[in-house]
Structure formats: structure tokens, C-alpha cells
Amino acid sequence: MNNRAAIAGAAAGTFVLAAVSLFVGVIDLTPLDVLRDPSALTLLIDSRFPRTAAPLIAGASLSICGLILQMLVRNRFVEPMTVGTGQGAALGILLVTVFAPTLSIFLKMVLASSTALLASLGFLLIARRLPPTQPLLVPLVGMVYGGILGAAVTFFAYQADMLQFIETWLSGDFSGVMRGRYELLWIGAMAAGLTYLIADQIAIVGLGRDASINLGLNYNQVMILGLLVISIVSALTVVTVGAIPFVGLIVPNIVSRWFGDNLRATLPVTALAGGALVLLSDILGRVLRYPFEIPVGTILGVLGAFAFLWLLYRGPKHAH
């Protein structure tokens, strides 16, 4: 399967899912209703379209961030939500909610992105000191590091009597998405989309520091740019819909298995596949226990486990 066919296939699949998503929900809605009934159109615009767009955007940007982080750290087993970036964002939002609740939403986002960036930088500094011969140490250390940050978040939330917020930030769920409540995600999508402009640079950074310097790349600058995007996307996702696990991990790994790591070619596929996966999970969450909902994180956990098993046993073979 070549790249163009893959992009076309992923785009077609995403389109079908999006069409399905528009007409799946507690209130019955058919395409015909939209033409006949103005209130049906309102439902579509106020609820179903946001509900369809949010998983697509969140999935696409988180997959891109997962891929970028994997390149920056040079390790396949990390994603922003397992190395403390998500927890860093949650910590920032918590602090700003407690100490400066009157700040504008924009400034709150800036602060949350900054703490996410600090948390990611902290992880990167630790990860650099780990022996490259032990690739599994990186994700393990990331989980411990994220766990410590998460503990700090929980502690502060407990002190401030805000534990229920932690729940909404750290477990992804699209059930609250409506027009006017999810638009921040678009900013994250733009940040993630802009990485296409530095796709080559990030791919070169993935080759390592020596190779980057040899090719005249400003290694640290690309590193910081990448981390910045990851932090912004993570912060916006955590605030808007909550942390969504696995997607940043599985999607880049599957895409890389098939198409390799030439980011200029694989970023679009990664984004489409990530969006489609999260949207599919959300549709399943809406349908399986209809009219109740299962959070997207739970569905993704199950799908992700199967995807990984499939990848291990049936994925494209290659010699080592």
C-alpha cells in the first residue's frame, strides 16, 4: 500500500465515521430531519457537529504530538500523557484556578501550556541521562515521573477541595462537548498542523544529536519548538475534554510500521488515523450502552490493547 492510497483510504474512512457520528445520539436525528425541521438543524450545529469535530481534532493532534515526542526522545514507547506533560498541564490549570480564577481563558491556557512545557522539559532532561541501550527505561521513568506529578496535582486539588475537577481533566470524555465549549481544541489543531512545516527538521532530530548537528540543524531550537507544540496541544486537550490515553502511542507506532518515519509523508496519515480512531471510540461509547455513554478513554483502552496485540502478532513483518 503506498502513501497516497493510505491517505485516501484514511480520509474516506474518517469521512464515513464523521457522517455516522453526526446522526448518532440520544435524540433521534436523520439527514431528512435536518432539511425539514429547524430545531434539528440547531441540534446538528450546537451538539452533533462539535461532538464530531472534537474527537477528530483531539485524536489527530494527540497522534501528531505522540509522533513528535517519540522523535524528540528517540523512543517509540512514549506519548505526552505518559511522560508528565498532561499532568503538568493539569497542575497549571489547578494552580491558576485556585490562585487567579479571574484571569482570561487565554492567559489560563498560556499558564497551563507553560507548566506542561516545564514538565516535558523536566522529563527530557531525565530521559537524556538514561542509557540508550535500555529503551524500556524511558517509558518506565516517564510513568514514574508522571505519577509523581500526578500525585502533586491530587495533593493540591485535595487541599483546595477540587478533586472532582481532577477527574474531568485526567479522564477524557466528550459527553460535555457543545458549541462554545470545545473551540479551544482548534487552536491545538493549528499548532499541531504547523508542525508539518518543520516535519523534516523533526525527522532529522529523530536521527540523533550528532546527525542533526552534522546537517547544520539548530538541534535545541527544533527540540523546543516540538515540545512547545506538544505542551500547547496537551494543555488545551486536558482542559477541554480531558486527557485521552493511548492514541498518541498506538497510532504513530502503527503508521511507522507501515510507512516508516519520513514525517513529511507520514504526518497526514498519522493525523487522519488518530482522528478516526478517537471518533470511532467515541461513537462506540455512545452506542454500546445507549442511551448511556462509556467514556472514550475506556473504549480506547480496550481497542488499544487489541491493536497492540494485532501489531505484535500480525503486523507487517520486518527483520531486525
Binding site: R74, D200, A203, G206, I213, N214, L215, G260, D261
Partner: protein
């Protein structure tokens, strides 16, 4: 011309390089030889700005390493480090094409495509160009790395132990190719090799290092003697002269 003046490098209390001053001539092939731990790779890494200069000064023609624009130096000088390990999955062609980054900034023009094709052809990689690197043998992967350095098409090529992983035919082919680049394309090749015989056979100029210092330099025929092996390499080997070139009996 690469001129290195008073270069010292310390890690903790260990002095890896001690006040090294040496000039590597422009054109031809210069080989750095010396026992393990003599500082050859460290010296090469300094020239290629992979290590920060603690004391001393290095310049490549008019460019002062560490103070000049890194991308300008990337169009002048390329290095193949000793151990290249790429964790990412790239096709041979993609990776060789990254060698063009200093010239193209990612947007390959037709001359870049030509250079990539030329590099693939020179190393016999054209049939493998769409294979992923992790599906190749160690030797083939190594050739792809050298091809990437070749595609960078710089005046100076620094290669740190490029003969590792290569069988005798591939090693000779690579040395012949480098020799050809030096003779017919006006490139300057600086190479670290362990096999003194390869160095003596192909290089124009030898620089011998020992314990972080330059022990001696000169033409292979003057330099490779029983005395050198005893003094620098601490081994008692016999040196024969075959077709006018020194040959160390293993």
C-alpha cells in the same frame, strides 16, 4: 585546510586531548591513526562541532568552528560518526536524501535528486533504495550511512572508522571510492582507521596520535616503521616494504 590550535579537552580529571596543534592539509586523504583511546575520534568530533571546544581554536578554511553559522559549516564539512544508530524507520533513499538537507532545507530540487541517485549508485544501493534500513544487514546499513555523508557533497569528509562492519571487498571498494573523491573531485578526506595497512596503502598523509597528543605526522612510507609500532602502539611487529609501501605483518 583544517587548522587546529592548542586544542585541549577534559572530562572530569581525564585529559582526553592535550594541547593539540596540527594542520590537516586541503586535498588528498589524511588518516588519523593511533592506539585505542588516543583521542582520534574526539579530535574528529571537535572539528565537526559535535563536542564543544573547551580551550583552543579550530578553523576549516575561513570558517571558525563554534563561531560560524552551523548550516554554512554543514555545506563545507560532513562527518560520519563511529557508531551510527538510527532508531527511526527510514527507507535507504529517504535517509540518503536527508544528506541533502544543508543544501535543500528539505525541499529537494532536481540537482538534489541527482546527487541522491548518484550516491545510491556509487554505493550499489539503488536496488535497495526503497527498503527500510532496519531490514538491511549491518554492512548494507553502514553503506547507506556513508552514502548519506557522500550525498552531503561537502569539500571535507570526516569518517570515523568507516571500515567497521565491512568485508574486505566492501572495505577496499570504499577506500577506492574515497581515493577517487580525493583525486578527481577535489575533496579532502580525513579518516580514522585502525588498520595501519589500509592507512598506509590509501592515505597521502598520516597523523599519529598517542595519549591525547600528536605523536608524529608525515608520509606513510616515512612514518610506518618498526620504531613507530614499538613507540606508539607498544607492539613488536615486523614492517615489510611491498611495492614501495610499508606493510605491517600482523
Amino acid at each position: 585546510m583544517i587548522s587546529i590550535e592548542n586544542l585541549s579537552y577534559e572530562v572530569g580529571t581525564a585529559r582526553i586531548l592535550q594541547d593539540v596543534t596540527v594542520t590537516l592539509p586541503k586535498g588528498g586523504m589524511t588518516a588519523l591513526i593511533g592506539p585505542n583511546g588516543a583521542g582520534k575520534s574526539t579530535l574528529l568530533s571537535h572539528v565537526a562541532r559535535l563536542l564543544p571546544i573547551q580551550t583552543g581554536k579550530i578553523s576549516v578554511d575561513d570558517l571558525e568552528v563554534g563561531n560560524c553559522d552551523s548550516s554554512a559549516l554543514a555545506r563545507r564539512l560532513a562527518i560520519l560518526p563511529q557508531q551510527v544508530h538510527f532508531a527511526t524507520r527510514l527507507t535507504v533513499r529517504d535517509m540518503v536524501a536527508f544528506g541533502r538537507y544543508p543544501h535543500s532545507q528539505g525541499r529537494l530540487r532536481s540537482e538534489d535528486h541527482n546527487k541522491v541517485a548518484e550516491a545510491l549508485e556509487a554505493f550499489g544501493l539503488t536496488p535497495l533504495q526503497n527498503r527500510f534500513l532496519d531490514t538491511l544487514s549491518g554492512g548494507q546499513r553502514h553503506k547507506a550511512h556513508v552514502a548519506m555523508t557522500y550525498a552531503q557533497d561537502t569539500d571535507y569528509l570526516l569518517l570515523d572508522e568507516p571500515l567497521n562492519n565491512l568485508d574486505i571487498s566492501a572495505a577496499r571498494a570504499l577506500m577506492a571510492l574515497l581515493r577517487d573523491l580525493a583525486d578527481n573531485s577535489g575533496k579532502t578526506i580525513v579518516i580514522v582507521v585502525h588498520d595501519i595497512n589500509f592507512a598506509a596503502q590509501y592515505a597521502d598523509h598520516l597523523v599519529v596520535m598517542k595519549q591525547g597528543q600528536i605523536a608524529c605526522e608525515g608520509k606513510p612510507v616515512d612514518l610506518v616503521t618498526k620504531a613507530l609500532l614499538t613507540d606508539v602502539f607498544d607492539t613488536d611487529a615486523h614492517v615489510a616494504l611491498i611495492e614501495g609501501k610499508p606493510f605491517v605483518m600482523p
